[in-house]
Symmetry: C2
């Protein structure tokens, strides 16, 4: 019998729930006894049975990322009981909006500078042609 089955090495969830930790415990791989805060957080927000149910509905190989995401969301809600994760989403959306405005300004600035450079180049070409013409005319005048 494994140490997990005897309950001497229970996961954080089974320790919290004061029960034996079965060898096929749904929590055990994702909520180790060394990190009780991790289970406490999801337990406080979702409750143990909901977390177990959500993990059971996910393929085993995706349960790790799911447990991480649930822990993250639970921490967010403990930190911000009104908005939770949605507060972060709002902040990121604001940042994207601000960055979008800055991007639009920079694109306009690039367009302005690029067109200005082109105009100056054309202007410079015209000045050279014009100077050349004036020069020839002046030389002509002098010669004549």
């Amino acid at each position: 019998m494994s140490s997990s089955a005897t309950g001497t090495s229970r996961c954080a969830a089974c320790r919290n729930q004061r029960r034996r930790c079965p060898t096929d415990c749904i929590f055990s791989p994702h909520f180790p006894s060394t990190d009780p805060e991790r289970f406490d957080a999801v337990h406080r927000i979702y409750g143990a049975s909901k977390v177990a149910k959500m993990l059971e509905e996910i393929p085993p190989e995706m349960r790790g990322p799911a447990a991480n995401a649930l822990h993250f969301e639970a921490k967010c809600r403990i930190r911000d009981p009104v908005y939770g994760c949605v507060g972060i989403i709002s902040t990121l959306n604001e940042e994207i909006r601000d960055t979008g405005t800055e991007l639009a300004k920079l694109r306009a600035r690039v367009a302005f500078l690029a067109s200005g450079a082109q105009e100056r180049q054309l202007g410079q070409d015209y000045t050279i042609v014009d100077d050349h013409w004036t020069e020839q005319q002046q030389i002509g005048n002098v010669v004549l």
Copy 2:
């Protein structure tokens, strides 16, 4: 006795839980019977007792935004059982990273164009002075 107290106009939560809807029901203002999906979503993810507990811990004037955020998070998790809201946060973070890269490129382009414009302006000033000198010299040569 109000219609709510008699249970003839129960909120979505009390209807779901098959109980009378008290006048001071914690769910009633935020989970109307006209939108049963809203309560079903938070019930599925958090459970009714956790939702009630979370709302009770928040000042009454903030319970509306909190119920909206809980509903949003629950919908996210139903749609994406692995990542939930965290999936959206990851996507937004990627977008911010990409936009940051584009911003850096545009800033570099603006700096390049601005310095190029300055150089061209200086070059143009130099060309005009140089042309003028050449022109005078040529005229002088002709005159001499």
